[in-house]
Structure formats: C-alpha cells, structure tokens
Amino acid sequence: MNGGEQIERFDCFGSSCAVLVDGFDGTRSAREAVLAARRSLEGWHARFSRFQPDSELSMLNDDPRIVVPASGLLVRLAAAVRFAGELSAGLVDATLVEQIEQAGYAEDLGDTLAIGETLVLAPRRTVASASATPGWRRVAADVRAGTITRPPGVRIDSGGLAKGLFADVLAQRLAGHASFAVDCAGDVALGGVARAPRAVHVESPFDASVLHSFELRDGAVATSGITRRSWLAADGRSAHHLLDPATGAPAFTGVVQATALAPSALEAEVRAKAALLAGPRAARSWLHYGVVVVVESGAFQAFAPQPVVNFAASSEPPVASPSL
C-alpha cells in the first residue's frame, strides 16, 4: 500500500522542520513514519533546549558532578561536541555558552536584525580562530557507560550540532523506506533504498530565493549563516550566534552563509560552520564535499563535490557521526 510520499511540516527548534517519507519499510507506513519522526523531534526539542531550565541539557550544564550519567542521546550530543572540535580544528566549539549569553543570546530571540543592518553595524571583519583553552577538549562521552565527563562549569550548547545529530538519528530510523528526507531546521539528511535523486535547493540569505540547486540520492546538507539569528548588542553593534572561539565574540568574517554537503548531517553542520568562521579565503578548504559559500557582497561560489563520493556504498562512514 503506497499513498505516495508523506510530508509533515511543523515549527520546531525556533525554525521550521519537515519530514518526507515514501514507502513501507516492513513495519511502518510512510504516514506512521513521518508522524513518529515529528513526535521525536518535538520531544528532543524540549529535552535539549538551553532555554528551558528543566531540560535534560540544562540539568547537565548545572550538574556539579564531574562525571554525569546521561541518556543515550545526550551522551551522543556530548560526543558530537568533541567530534566537532576535532574535525574543525577547534573552530566549532559548542561549549561557548557563557560567551553567547554575554553576547546577548540568553533567551529565545524575538525580532532579528535585517541583513543590511546587521552588516552595517558589524564590527571589523576578521577570520575566526581556535581558542587557546578550548572547552570542547574537556568534554568526554562514554557511550557504553552512558556518562559525560567534564569539569563543572563547562556547559554545552545544543545549537546546530543537535539539529545535525537529530537529523542523522532519524535518517537511520527511516533508512528502510523507499525514500526519505529529514529537514531539521536547515540540516537535511536524505536517502532511502530506492536511491531516487532528490532536488536540494540552497536558500539565499538575502531574499530567501533559491541560490543554487543540485540533486542528491543520499547524504546530508547543512547551512550555517549569520543573518537569521542576529540582534543588536548592548554596545550598539550587531551580533549573531556564531562565535569566534579565540575571542568569544560573534565572528564577522566576510562570509554570510555556508552550505556543506557531507555523509552525515552532523558533519555537514560542522563543515558549514567551520567554512563560515574560516572566512572567504579558507572557506573552501572546509567544504570537502561541496557546496556553496556566500559573501557579504552577495556573490557566491558553488563547488562540486570533491572528490566524487558514493556515501551509500562506502564501507566505512567517512568521519561519521559519533556512535550512530
């Protein structure tokens, strides 16, 4: 019984999410699968929000113990923090919670600044670099024991990493269907046994038009940028949520948006963030598999995946998400 591709769209993670599934995987219909995926995402949003004091993540961040028992998914998020730091050579540090709160992102953002205003009021452009005392190095996850080890005070920000991780977890669950796509607030994982090509569009940061399109049979794409979550800081400068680990301040590098292709959504998320933080000259080196970098002038460059990768056929996942 095939009722065509089932699509479920809903607001989650302060943005919009979508789950698209086609086919029966032996246990669940496409409709059941999209509804289950939606329930999972909404549940995870409540469990891993930094803004809810009783969330699992907030409780971990407030826990005075060094070794903290945690749920499987939270342990994987902690592993993802470590993975992101290692893959990006310290550019992506998900432990800058104090710094982002100081920058003005201590609660859900209301109205965000328009892109023009963000760029006009931005401080001098400099590329980001790794911190000399990175917090991510002090986070260790033991998946078997179900524990997270970090010095009390080192806090984890779920941010984009959690979205990538959730997209990957759902992608694993939906892998038996003919085709599927999970759009977790911009982090997209897709695939399916039919290996049907699916069009992927990259949205422009300036006017939400389509900037670039390509087709993908399996794998993941993630976009990171400075224009969707930006605000006016106390000093009258514009600020956003992507921080330079070296300074702890919002990074204005000249790149306004980067989109990365990768085998997993988590890796794509890390690569996109690293490309943005590295600035226009070095951005490409982080986009190992492609796709798009947009600079402040509005010019963009699209890269083909290099080298050609068959994600589905690769025997081992290249720099796979931790313990997926």
């Binding site: 399109s213 963009f300 460059q301």
Partner: protein, 181 residues
C-alpha cells in the same frame, strides 16, 4: 546599557557612516570634476593655439597615403585600442555575471573586510554582482549527486513553514530546501 541606549548608539553610528559616505562621495565628485576640467583646458589651449595634433597627424597620413597607396588602413587599425579594451571589459563582465571565481569572491569580501571605506564599496558593488548559480558538474549518478542548475520553484512545499502542515505527493521525491536555522 539599556536597549534604548544601544539603539541610540547604533543610530549615531549609522549617522556617522552616512556622513562619511557623503564626504567620500563629494570628494570623489570634486576630484573627478577637477581632473576633467584640467584635461579639457589642456586640450582646449592646445587646439586654440593652433597645435591640433589630429590635423598634423592626418596631414602626415595623407602625405603617407599619397606616396604608398596600398598601405592605407594600417594606421587606423592600430589606433583602435579603445575598442579592444572595451571588448575585454565586456568579457570580464560576462565572467562576473556567471559565477564568482574564488579570487573574485575573496576580493569582494576582502574589500568588505579591510576597512569600512572599502566595505561601502563592496556593498554597493554587491547590489549588482549577485551571481547566477554556478553550473558546475556535481558528479555522476553513482556518486549520489546530480548536476546543479537554477532551482525551478523551490517554493511550494519546501518554503512554507506552516506549523503542522501535512501532505502527500504521488510523483518522485519532493525537493528540500536548506537554509540557515
């Protein structure tokens, strides 16, 4: 610092930027006018004093063509440097329009980065330099990716973010859109 004070600071900064832009614009206009007037005066004085270089050149050319009739067009073809530079700049324009090369993208963003003065220039240039999607070959079908192209309507399903909308599609897999979260 309150939000109002921050807003006031931002307004002050914006006004300062505007004043600066006006100042730069005025000085560029003044320098351009002065340069034009100088060149115009030099040419005018030269012509008025009876030293028109064109006249002397054409008289020479006439003398030359009178003595060597067959070599007539060569001197005029040499003097078409204006046309040549015009066509080369048109080529550059075409390249800009198709896709920014990495150095171009770098240059533009460096302009934006180096100083606020040049960032003004970069942002004004940006208005006209939004590039079309590059049509770089992505990979073969085996690789998992297809080739790129301009997105025909990303719209519809993918861009609507309505809370809790559901639907189904009977054709091939629907498109998905990746955007900043």
């Amino acid at each position: 610092m309150t939000k109002r004070e921050a807003r006031a600071l931002a307004d002050k900064r914006r006004a300062k930027l505007r004043r600066r832009t006006r100042r730069i614009r005025r000085s560029v206009a003044a320098v351009t006018a002065a340069l034009f007037a100088t060149v115009f005066l030099v040419v005018y004085v030269q012509l008025a004093s009876g030293h028109d270089p064109a006249l002397s050149a054409s008289s020479k050319a006439r003398q030359t063509s009178a003595s060597h009739k067959s070599s007539g067009g060569s001197s005029s073809s040499k003097s078409t440097s204006g046309e040549t530079s015009g066509s080369s700049s048109a080529d550059t324009g075409e390249t800009d329009g198709k896709a920014a090369t990495s150095s171009e993208a770098d240059e533009e963003s460096n302009e934006a980065a180096s100083s606020s003065e040049s960032s003004e220039a970069a942002s004004s240039a940006g208005e006209s330099s939004t590039t079309e999607p590059s049509t770089t070959e992505s990979s073969t079908a085996e690789s998992g990716t297809g080739e790129s192209g301009t997105g025909e309507s990303a719209s519809g399903e993918s861009s609507s973010a309505g809370s809790g909308s559901a639907g189904s599609s009977s054709s091939g897999p629907s498109s998905v859109t990746t955007s900043q979260s």
